[in-house]
Structure formats: C-alpha cells, structure tokens
C-alpha cells in the first residue's frame, strides 16, 4: 500500500489464526475459475459499515476465532459487529454493534469466542487496499485481494490503512439491543428447495427438515459440513456446474455441506437447494457442535426478505 499524509493506520501486534479484509466480494470473473469471496456473515459485515455511515461494500476486517491484537497509530472511529470474541480496548470490554472512538496508542485485543466465531471490525471510510479484479476481498486460495493484494491473511507487524478523519466530529450510533442476533440459540436456516430435491428419498427429505443437524469440525470459508442422519439420494454425482452461495450439496456419504463464499466455482454433487444469504450469515457464526435446523422457504418470500434487509443499507 502506498501511504499519503492523509492516511491513518492500525498496527497488527499479533495476528491470530485468521483475519482477512472483505468487501462485498469479487463478481463477474467466476467464469475464469475465480472465487467470489466476501464476508461469511453478510449481516454483521453490513451493520459494521452502516453504523459508520460507510457505503455498502467498504472493506472490513473479518476476524475468525479471535487472537488478534492491534494498536491504533491514529485516532479513528470503528465498529465491531458479529461474534463476541472477547474484544477489549486497553483491557476494558469493547462494546459490540455500536460506534467506538479508538484513540492513538490504544490496544484493541480479540481473545476467544464467547458467542459466534467471526467478528467484523470496520473503520470509518473503510480499510484501504488495492482493487484486484474489481474487489478488495481476500481469497487466500486464489492468491487475490486483501491488504497486500496477493491473498495473504493478516500477519504480525502488518499495517492496515484508512483515510484519516476526526472521529470526535462524527455521530455516535448503535444498533438497538433487540436487533442483536443471539448466536447461542439453535440456528434456523431458510432453504429454497432446488432442482434435485426430488432425487432424494422421501424419508431423507423428512429427516432434512425435521431433524436437528450439528456443525462438523470441517467448517471454513469454503463450506460447512453438517452431521446428522445419512441422506440417501438416487443421484450420486452430476456433471460439474456453477454453484451458488449457500448451495447445500450432499456427497455420497449423505452428510450435507453448505457452500460459502470461498467455495469453488463449479461442483458436481446433487443439492437439496440453496440457503438464503441471511441463513448463510447465521450459519457462519456457528462453532463446531452447534445445532442447526433447515426450514423450507419459497423463492419469492426469500427474495422479499433479502430486499427488506438490503433496504436498511
């Protein structure tokens, strides 16, 4: 990154397991085999920007499982949304879902997940990074995007730049507590049935929607595997085809995998259908062992829900 006299920055003192810059994602290039990327929890990501009056699409730091420690080199206005990863500012608990002024030399530290697994740290004006193929989203597997442009995750001694501003002159905002998601509850995931749903055995469909599912340890930004009854599908594999965010594919072992932002562009397993974007966001906050359920929804109802959500931003 080039810096100018108008830049402020944060110094990364300790990197933690995984922290990535994410804007809304990389679009228009999936036909070249390039991954979409973007925030795993769209809901928390969007609110982190909204609280700061940032436009939709500014880049935000997605922090998975905590362990990150940073120091402000300049005063700035920030917001932390999403999972409670035990964030503190100079040892004092940092509030979630509201604007905060982080002063020069203050230390913001994320410890361990208390509720949810991903926190979103936004700064007024968004974090600076080069646009790579139309996006700043960091996809490590593709080696594209992020704070260095090459897909690398946040490392120790890295700097995160933003446009300098005077935080004291900006409005303070918060999301009413009644609107905060409770990630400790069982997650109810809206699923739009897809074309292969009729290929599944009747009892498997019953189990899909009436059994609880458990998040497996094999869960990352590519996809989240669920454990539960073994689903039987008459179709074992398919010719590979484009797959949407939230596609629920069922490989021959009968255990569904929900495909998320860093999924490959094409895939060849039959699918139960597609989760709504808000269901993907909710699932992305579930730690291994967490209980989830599927609920069938209709395409038009799901589209209306998404429009309502987006109209707030």
């Amino acid at each position: 990154m080039t810096t100018t006299h108008t830049s402020g920055h944060l110094n990364i003192l300790r990197a933690g397991p995984l922290a990535l810059l994410q804007d809304s994602g990389r679009f228009g290039v999936r036909r070249l085999g390039i991954t979409q990327g973007g925030p795993a929890d769209l809901h928390a990501w969007a609110w982190a920007n909204r609280l700061l009056d940032n436009p939709w699409g500014n880049s935000v730091l997605e922090i998975t499982l905590g362990g990150l420690e940073l120091q402000a080199e300049h005063d700035c206005q920030i917001a932390i949304c999403g999972g409670d990863l035990g964030a503190t500012i100079d040892q004092q608990p940092a509030p979630l879902w509201q604007t905060i002024i982080l002063r020069r030399h203050q230390i913001l530290r994320f410890r361990l997940p208390i509720s949810g697994v991903r926190a979103y740290l936004a700064v007024k004006g968004g974090f600076d990074a080069a646009m790579i193929l139309g996006s700043r989203s960091c996809v490590t597997r593709d080696g594209l995007g992020g704070h260095k442009g090459d897909g690398s995750k946040i490392g120790q001694d890295d700097k995160l730049y933003f446009a300098a501003h005077t935080p004291d002159s900006l409005p303070a905002r918060q999301l009413p507590e009644s609107e905060h998601p409770d990630y400790s509850q069982q997650a109810l995931l809206d699923l739009i049935p897809g074309a292969q749903i009729a290929e599944f055995r009747g009892d498997s469909l019953y189990q899909t929607f009436n059994h609880g599912w458990q998040v497996d340890t094999r869960a990352d930004r590519m996809g989240i595997r669920l454990k539960g009854p073994v689903l039987q599908c008459h179709m074992k594999t398919m010719i590979s085809e484009g797959i949407s965010l939230g596609a629920v594919q069922v490989p021959p072992d009968g255990q569904p995998i929900v495909l998320l932002n860093d999924r490959q562009t094409i895939g060849g397993y039959p699918r139960l259908g597609t989760l709504t974007p808000l269901a993907c966001a909710r699932l992305a906050q579930c730690p291994p062992g967490h209980s989830v359920r599927f609920r069938a929804t209709g395409l038009l109802a799901a589209q209306a829900e998404q429009r309502r959500f987006r109209s707030g931003f």
């Binding site: 679009f27 085999g33 949407s244 597609t274 709504t276 395409l299 799901a302 589209q303």
Partner: protein
C-alpha cells in the same frame, strides 16, 4: 466433429423435450440446463447463450458460470424479480442459435515439452494404454480440444474430450505441489495448471505458456468454448520459450521410507 447438439433436441433447443430447462439456484440465480451429457458441440450453444444473457441483462448481470452442460446466471435481485428473469431467460432459449463449430474458431496452440522428468505419469499412461511414448504424445497432441469449464483455480481449463485410448483415473493420492505449466490428464479430460498448486491429475508434460495473468486483457488465456491444440516441442524449444525445466519433485512417501 459432429454438428452442434441436435441429437436430443430437434431443430431448436426448445422443441418439446425436457431440456433445456430453468432450475432455481437461490434468491438471485437460475441454472440453465441445456444438455445431459458432455459433448464438445455443447459449447457452441453455451457460448451463444452467454452472449445473449449478457446482452439481455446488462448491468443487472452479476456473474455467469458456464460449465459442460449448463450456465449459471447470477443476477441482481435488488433490481430484478426472479420470475421476470425466468421469463427473460425462457425467451432467450426459444430463439437461441448456436455459434460456429470448433473448426471455424481460432485455435490456441500450446507448446508442450512431453517428458518423463516434467510428466512422470507418461510412464503409467504408457503401461495402462499399452502405447509407446511417441504414440501417447501423438494422440494427445493431434486432438482438437474444447474448453468445457474453468474452475478449481483461476484459469484452470477443463478440456476435452481426451481420446479414449488415453483415459486414466486421477492419482489416488494427490500431489501436494504440481508445478505451474504442468500439462495433465484425468478421465476423459486434459488441462494445464496455471500456477503451482496441489493436484491429483496425471502429469505428462509442461507448457511454457502463461495461462493466467491478472494484468492481461481477459486474464485467462483460455476461455470457455475455446478450441485448443497441444504442440510437441523439444526441451531446447521449451526453454527458449521461457519454460522452467525443473523436474517434478516426488512427494515424500508417508511413513518416511523415502
């Protein structure tokens, strides 16, 4: 090559069969399913369909993912309604005409140094197929391939169909690192690795050509629907063209024996 996909579809794609059809793929995407088997001629319809979708949707098109028998159309659901898009896609399908057959397309010629040092599975391929190296190389390089899909990694082109004589399953244990430019086969397909990555395909040679460059117009040298031929070159020519002749490193066998 056979004439474009008329086999199952009558004179036009919409004539009275269950294909093509539109399948829901979430709140903002439809899958257009054109075919139910992999044929090189499918691509003449798929490239035509992509162009029509781009023209009809304009700025409301977010992404198009073509692949073998389908096109995934990802649109902006803030701007467009699901049923409106479905009607639009149906009308495109009802008047779709295929593009030119592969013989009339520009052909990408990819120079390949076929050699056991950079393509260690030449040996296995020769054993399984009962063909000598020169025959294997001749068969692989004579065929005109189509790009069916890009995926797995930026610029990784799934090409086919590989002649049956060279059909070989994927490696049981994928390599942890396949060098960039490696030319590989698996099943009835062939490809070349744009950058070093893990991979389970059988390596038979290496191309010096840069397959993916994000600063180049179009970024990926190969695009879905393109026609491709591999041209055998000597080691000297491979190096002259900028190729790296470093041999493929054997993965250490588990258990530490070697």
């Amino acid at each position: 090559m056979r004439k474009a996909g008329m086999k199952d579809h009558g004179e036009t794609l919409s004539a009275g069969s269950t294909l093509p059809r539109l399948e829901n793929a979430g709140i903002d995407a439809w899958i257009i399913r054109l075919f139910d088997s992999i044929e090189e001629s499918n691509m003449n319809w798929i490239t035509a369909l992509m162009r029509e979708c781009e023209a009809a949707l304009g700025d409301d098109l977010i992404d198009l993912v073509p692949s073998y028998t389908t096109v995934l159309v990802h649109y902006d659901c803030q701007q467009r309604d699901a049923l409106q898009i479905r009607a639009l896609l149906s009308s495109i399908l009802s008047r779709l005409q295929p593009d030119e057959a592969a013989e009339n397309l520009p052909i990408h010629e990819l120079p390949v140094w076929y050699d056991i040092s950079v393509g260690p599975e030449l040996e296995r391929l020769s054993q399984v197929s009962n063909l000598g190296y020169p025959q294997v190389i001749q068969i692989h390089s004579e065929h005109l391939y189509r790009v069916f899909a890009l995926g797995f990694a930026p610029g990784f082109a799934f090409m086919g169909s590989l002649p049956e004589a060279l059909e070989l399953p994927r490696l049981e244990t994928p390599r942890t690192r396949v060098p960039a430019g490696s030319v590989a086969i698996a099943g009835r397909q062939t490809s070349a690795y744009p950058q070093a990555s893990p991979g389970g395909w059988n390596l038979i040679g290496r191309t010096p050509v840069r397959l993916f460059d994000r600063d180049r117009d179009g970024m990926s040298l190969l695009q879905v629907g393109d026609a491709v031929r591999f041209i055998p070159v000597s080691k000297e020519e491979f190096i002259r063209l900028g190729g790296d002749p470093t041999p493929v490193v054997r993965d250490r066998v588990q258990g530490g024996v070697q």
